[in-house]
């Protein structure tokens, strides 16, 4: 007989019962609705043990990899430890390098022994507890430190501090990693579309390099939106990446090119440009990162253009309150 461990309580699972039934019978308040595996209300994460395949049917590949499963469909074949909360893990990091980029973006490198997937995000925690989330631009298998892109706001409590006071050699706490926006290698031929605004480029830069590292074979299209040519950043790195990899196409999109010409620079609205150049996205994997409004709008647009919801990965940036 297998057991389920939840909140330090180990419960024996009656033969044929689901994890949901087991936990409800034990008196725990677990959210659920359809009990048929379709509403996903009872999604939990296994922190030890492997949920049976039936309990992961219909989930995204990224969720499966992280041990998410549907409690109502989970009749465990081995002992499981499960949680409703995302598992949290905090460790100390050392600032290795800082570099200011155009568009008021700070590139920050941290020495930290973190196990993560490129495109996930972490929380940076200052000694006094002030916390902000940033996406990872680095690839664990390639880079020896974490790389984060921090947009410096004039009134940004954290970003001003990171830009002015945080020094190379300083310590900072890193919590995570979090998020499901990363490259999935199940179909290397699949065309990839990546679009982001501002520092939404950060996770996309990591995801692209991770895809290339994992020998992705389909075409990769990257679009970044910015207000002006002056606020485009990471351009040299991207140009180098494009020159090294024929699969990759990159177009920065700005509202007004102000007379600048470039063989890849496009003028207009990011969403409109994507729609015009990719009217049919069936079979694509799509990665969207940046402001909530833009990502939400692009996600709908890409879904209506034929991309399957399962293949649309998003990282929504929300401003600190």
């Amino acid at each position: 007989m297998s057991t389920v461990t939840f909140e330090n309580d180990t419960i024996e699972v009656i033969e044929g019962d689901s994890v949901l039934e087991t936990l409800l019978d034990a008196g725990y308040d677990i959210p659920y609705s359809c009990q048929a595996g379709s509403c996903h209300c009872c999604m939990m994460q296994a922190t030890a043990g492997t949920p049976p395949p039936d309990a992961q049917r219909g989930l995204k590949e990224t969720q499966k990899q992280q041990g998410f499963f549907l409690a109502c469909q989970c009749r465990p074949e081995e002992d499981l430890a499960v949680t409703l909360e995302v598992s949290r893990n905090t460790q100390s990091a050392i600032v290795a390098k800082k570099q200011l980029e155009p568009g008021n973006v700070l590139r920050l490198w941290l020495k930290c022994d973190l196990n993560y997937r490129a495109g996930q995000f972490v929380n940076l925690i200052r000694k006094d507890g002030l916390t902000r989330s940033y996406s990872l631009a680095s690839v664990a298998e390639i880079d020896d430190s974490l790389e984060l892109h921090i947009r410096i706001f004039a009134d940004g409590q954290f970003s001003q501090w990171a830009s002015n006071s945080l020094k190379v050699g300083d310590e900072i706490d890193v919590e995570g990693p979090f998020g499901e926006c990363y490259y999935v290698s199940t179909n290397p031929q699949q065309p990839l579309l990546l679009a982001g605004t501002g520092t939404g480029l950060s996770p996309l830069y990591g995801i692209i390099r991770d895809a290339i590292r994992q020998q992705h074979q389909g075409p990769i299209y990257l679009y970044t939106g910015a207000r002006s040519v002056q606020s485009l950043y990471l351009q040299d790195e991207l140009k180098k990446l494009v020159s090294e990899h024929s699969l990759l196409t990159y177009h920065p999109v700005v509202q007004d090119t102000e007379g600048h010409t470039d063989d890849v620079l496009l003028e207009g609205d990011l969403s409109e440009v994507v729609q015009k150049r990719h009217p049919d996205l069936s079979g694509f994997a799509v990665y969207l990162c940046g402001s909530e409004q833009r990502v939400t709008q692009l996600r709908k647009q890409c879904f209506l253009a034929g991309a399957s919801m399962r293949d649309i990965h998003v990282d929504l940036f929300t401003p600190a309150s």
Binding site: A36, S38, H40, K300, F303, L304
Partner: protein
Amino acid sequence: MFAKLKAFFTGGEPATESTTTTEETKMASLFERIGGEAAVDAAVELFYRKVLADNRISHFFDSVDMAGQLQKQKTFLTMVFGGPNSYSGKDMREAHKHMNLTEEHFNAVIENLGATLQELGVAESDIAEIAGIGMSVKDEVLNK
């Protein structure tokens, strides 16, 4: 295409058993006949795209949480396909009662459902049966 469907959905024509129905297919449930969970998977995105593109009802479906919305559509389709679900009429009433839904909204959903199933090549007799299940929760959905 819609005239024919409308007859099904408004109950103008009762769903008649096809004369070619064999004993085996009669035995199989509607859900099994149309392909079970795989049929729901095939239909759900098609259906969601249609309702998002339908100005009569798109605002009810246009949510920040698209993945959550998709799961709701999946639950709905599983129910009308006669699949396993544990929804009661009371749940349907509770879920929809604050939405001020009208007959037009309800019919729009049923129309999009019919168009989805036709596109997938589902037999008309099965479409009629599915529409019948959809129609059966009309009063609950419209909170009548």
